[in-house]
Symmetry: C2
Subunit: 525 residues, 2 copies
């Protein structure tokens, strides 16, 4: 049944013969749409309403590729004063609608962009047509023909502030059901306006809708940009992209926190990291490789920054003499990403900031490098009690981030030379001090986004270190054997895409930067 | 124990104090390496050998980032006549070695590139030094200092045919064990030279080694190029990259051929396709999205073109009036990939052709589009008996590929308007003939590489079609609900990366174009 106000309009009817209509008649500027209605319908319609504008609005038959229409659609973001007085077609969603006497104000939205549209009873629109427009459900997708008009006073509530549309035709392309699971206006209310609807968890439940907010559009466009900048930078540096398997026969690092898969008549695991495969490529002389792909962690961690499935941006690189060659490549890649985002994604950053205000992300060139020892000294000076070779707790990482920001004015830095004891067995020991290692973490706004190291490329030393960690050598035989036929010295690291997006934008939950987040309690949508 | 001939050389000893050496002394041009040997060793060494070249060769201590050496390494591929008479350092593997009287000929390899190197007893090299070089194991990684010399006669067996290296210093960076699992020369022997060692299965068993062949280097560099060209083309067209989850709560299309994952206290599945998620992004107005990621199929198919895990290049795009807008975008993307490969990867194509000769890949602009009906007519004319709405068998696909090649001289074409009955329930019916559908496959050298269609974006029609296919509506409720809040008309498709690589290069098994292939019988490495 049609919503109130739509009774008289042309209804789509996917099972009737009308289902294959003459689209030109319905949508075109000159056609007479009567041709695709039955004679009976037509006469009752005409008698009841005698609507002079009856061909100027209605519900289109479902777009089923009936014909190739030569009618350009202008994007909402391109509606600027340069287009003033032009008659154009726009496809967009109804974001809000408000009837006021003989007028109807619509806000039309496409992606992050909104524009005001006006229908008024007059030469081009009948009373029935304005009523039709006023009754359309929010989120419906419509095609409007309109004249672009400059406005005297900026329209503060829309992204396109200098123009509005004077609508002359309006057709529904896809109708939304009346009840939305979440009102989109609620979902983009700025933080602190005391509305629980905005809470991350509820938003996630309504993720399908939430993806359509201006904020989400901006977040995920920026995230796409991070991937692109990451790859472009590395390809310029001579890296090769590789594809590594996600179904593996043995658990990567001893077997904890790994998901099990039924694999025909046997069992397999989901890869916790592409590391073994990256290293095999290095052993096969690919020299510089990267991969972008899902990484799986069966950790029962329900924190703001853990997901059970996330996107890893992984790098591995052979070096000539010193692992800092690799570390410098990675920090430079991060810097290129930060610069690219700042240059090319200002619109997106501003859109996110409207809902989630944050300070612009700061970084230095070259990247600040601190040694672990120095970090411990800074923390101790700030009153923290900890051992020299103790790992950093999450609160201490954050505190360190604040101390570094105060002292060096940067949100990005590398912590180098971690204690050997807190790193995995394949980490190369520091040649100058056996208590430390050739390993590093990178931090954004005080949270870790990358962990990396020089890897041991010598089968004998690797065996010794595995035994020292009480690892079952039988289980990692394939890994150790990889290094028996000549292996170049190499280092690398893995970056969490969702964390980089979250921390660059100053957001507070990694679920906001994963389109379809997975955690111990969330498997849908 | 050191291999024969290496007894006298400096040995690495990761656990002795020598483990932290003065690298400058060992590797540098002017240093005296005696400083890092014990006095006892030194004196016995000197007495026994009195080797004037003793500082010019040896086994380096493991590179542990002891120091940042300022010594550029020239890549094998950059060894050209322009460098003649220059004294340079090169790091490469020993591909082959042959001693001949007072001389030792080495072929050094890095990636796809090889160069001849010569050591001869004389001013710069002692007898002991030549013997040391001759006894090094194949695949060991070495640093050599050498003078680049033009040669009079081209060296046919190397990629660098116009120069050779006259070696003056030689140090081992990483030693290979003597027994290789597969001789690399065997692995790159041209097809048809009657050697079973080359057979795909055996090569796969030795994949770790096999990745190091010149052919594999070329295949996977070209594959990296396909991904890059795919994304760059789409980003230029305004597409956004998305990341879709691989762990899902319900099987995508009814539940067959899906891998099950243990997920904490419940069960989940591995995504067979990102399609639902791509479509949700379209419903959220992302307009044009793509994703590159693993796709999982629990099919017990042991053919030359099936893998249980492969890389999907997936596209989904909203269109204005006709799904050919999307189809044309996809074919244009493929054409840009073919052109880019031809322009930028000739070296790789030539390298692969040496082992696997094939005709250059041909395509037309614009892409040839045939309707399913026409294809059936061509097959019937060629003597095939089949019904008009019957699906194409694999042999018929291949035959059709040959017929199309003969008639149109192209290895790439689109088959449009498949019978509705042979496509999934969400495929949009053809508005002009209910027996057909708005769907298409794309073919390279007669094999399918992409399957796609306009999707039904209307919840009511989607429900009808699902019921017609006897699909349990409860299981696909979330999918159908995605279209209840306004959905733009859209179409898309999924491409198999490994198949595109295989067919572009004219290879015959998809396992050759997957670095770490997974099939019902193969889970390692």
């Amino acid at each position: 049944a049609a919503p109130p106000g739509l009774e008289g309009a042309v209804e789509r009817s996917p099972t009737s013969p009308d289902y294959l209509p003459n689209l030109h008649g319905t949508l075109g500027r000159d056609g007479n749409s009567d041709s695709n209605r039955s004679g009976e319908k037509k006469s009752s319609w005409d008698k009841l309403f005698q609507d002079f504008a009856k061909d100027r609005y209605g519900i289109c038959p479902m777009v089923q590729s009936q014909q190739k229409l030569d009618r350009p659609l202008v994007r909402v973001q391109d509606l600027t004063p340069e287009k003033a007085e032009q008659q154009i077609w726009v496809r967009a969603r109804i974001h809000t609608s408000r009837a006021k006497g003989k007028q109807c104000f619509l806000v039309l939205r496409h992606q992050q962009f909104t524009v005001q549209a006006l229908l008024a009873v007059g030469d081009r629109a009948s009373k029935q047509m304005v009523k039709f427009a006023a009754n359309l459900t929010k989120e419906s997708i419509i095609d409007v023909e309109a004249v672009v008009k400059k406005v005297e006073q900026k329209i503060e509530s829309c992204s396109q502030q200098d123009v509005e549309l004077h609508v002359e035709r309006i057709f529904v392309i896809s109708q939304s059901e009346a009840r939305l699971p979440l009102q989109l206006e609620d979902a983009v209310r700025p933080e602190g306006e005391g509305d629980e609807v905005r809470k991350v968890d509820l938003i996630i439940i309504n993720l399908h809708r939430n993806l359509n907010t201006t904020t989400s559009q901006a977040i995920f466009r920026l995230q796409s940009g991070i991937c692109q900048l990451f790859r472009d930078t590395l390809i310029n540096k001579g890296f090769v992209e590789i594809q590594t398997p996600k179904i593996i026969s043995a658990a990567s690092e001893g077997g904890a926190n790994v998901f099990t898969v039924s694999y025909f008549k046997t069992s397999a695991y989901l890869a916790q990291s592409p590391q073994l495969y990256k290293q095999m490529c290095i052993c096969a002389d690919f020299d510089k490789v990267f991969c972008v792909g899902p990484v799986f962690r069966a950790e029962d961690s329900n924190t703001h920054r853990h997901l059970t499935e996330f996107v890893g941006l992984d790098i591995e690189m052979a070096f000539n003499y010193h692992y800092h060659e690799v570390m410098d490549s990675i920090t430079d890649t991060m810097v290129q990403i930060f610069k690219g985002l700042c240059d090319r994604f200002q619109t997106e950053i501003q859109t996110v900031n409207k809902q989630y205000p944050s300070e612009p992300f700061k970084f230095l060139e070259p990247t600040l490098r601190l040694e672990y020892k120095e970090a411990v000294a800074m923390l101790k000076a700030a009153g923290v009690e900890m051992g020299d070779e103790e790992d950093l707790s999450t609160p201490n990482e954050k505190l360190l981030g604040r101390l570094v920001k105060e002292k060096y004015d940067t949100d990005f830095y590398v912590l180098d030379k971690y204690p050997l004891a807190v790193r995995p067995f394949y980490t190369m020991p520091d040649p100058n001090n056996p208590k430390y290692s050739n390993s590093y973490d990178m931090f954004m706004r005080g949270e870790e986004i990358l962990s990396g190291a020089q890897r041991i490329h010598d089968a004998q030393l690797l065996t010794e270190r595995a035994m020292h960690h009480s690892i079952d050598l039988e289980k990692i035989k394939a890994y150790i054997d990889s290094f028996r036929y000549g292996a170049p010295p190499h280092a690398g690291g893995g970056i969490g895409l969702e964390r980089v997006t979250m921390l660059y934008l100053g957001l507070h939950n990694v679920r906001q930067t994963s389109m379809f987040p997975r955690d111990p309690k969330r498997l849908t949508p």
